[in-house]
């Protein structure tokens, strides 16, 4: 096993660990606002680890390029999603409090 293979194994293991941690947080954290952190953590930490592992294995071939494009798009849309959903949840809770 050379250094590249070892780096791939470590990166993939880190990506899986980040995904498990996000899922554990989703189960344990108390509110939807706190749980939103898990979504952005999984997308950022897991996505970057998997993207780096695929790029280390495939380099610039079509699969590596498409994987990188997918993760970059996921990061960009994830940031917008977390902002939009946090705003929507806050407005919803405010409306529910006003109704009471």
């Amino acid at each position: 096993m050379n250094a590249g293979d070892f780096a791939q194994i470590v990166l993939v293991a880190l990506g899986v660990a980040a995904s498990w941690l996000a899922a554990f947080g989703l189960l344990r954290l108390p509110t939807a606002f706190a749980r939103l952190h898990c979504v952005s953590f999984a997308g950022a930490a897991g996505g970057l680890c998997f993207m780096a592992a695929v790029l280390a294995d495939r380099g610039g071939d079509p699969l590596g390029f498409k994987s990188a494009a997918t993760i970059i798009l996921l990061l960009l849309t994830g940031a917008v999603f977390v902002h939009a959903s946090g705003r929507a949840l806050r407005l919803r809770q405010q409306a529910l409090e006003d109704r009471q």
Binding site: S19, A23, V39, R87, A88
Partner: protein, 83 residues
């Protein structure tokens, strides 16, 4: 079974946790769990694509990213106004 396929299978418990929260929690937490589930699905499709050495599989992951984003925004809009 290579590294990539093993990692894809290892993501199944995390996806199951997101599915369980999406099934039993209230509507706000369901929304968050749905988005985590779609993120994990993209990871799994990417890993399966590398594991089976099929570049066309990654198009499915790219499509999930592109379709889940407007879906999530529409869900947020409905959650804010009407649900």
């Amino acid at each position: 079974m290579n590294l990539w396929l093993t990692a894809a299978v290892a993501l199944l418990p995390a996806l199951a946790a997101a599915g369980w929260v999406a099934a039993v929690a209230d509507i706000e937490n369901r929304f968050v769990a749905l988005e985590l589930g779609s993120t994990l699905t993209v990871f799994m499709l990417m890993l399966l694509s590398v594991g089976y050495d099929q570049p066309s599989f990654i198009d499915l992951g790219l499509t999930v990213v592109l379709l889940s984003f407007p879906g999530a925004l529409a869900y947020a809009h409905f959650l804010e106004r009407w649900l």
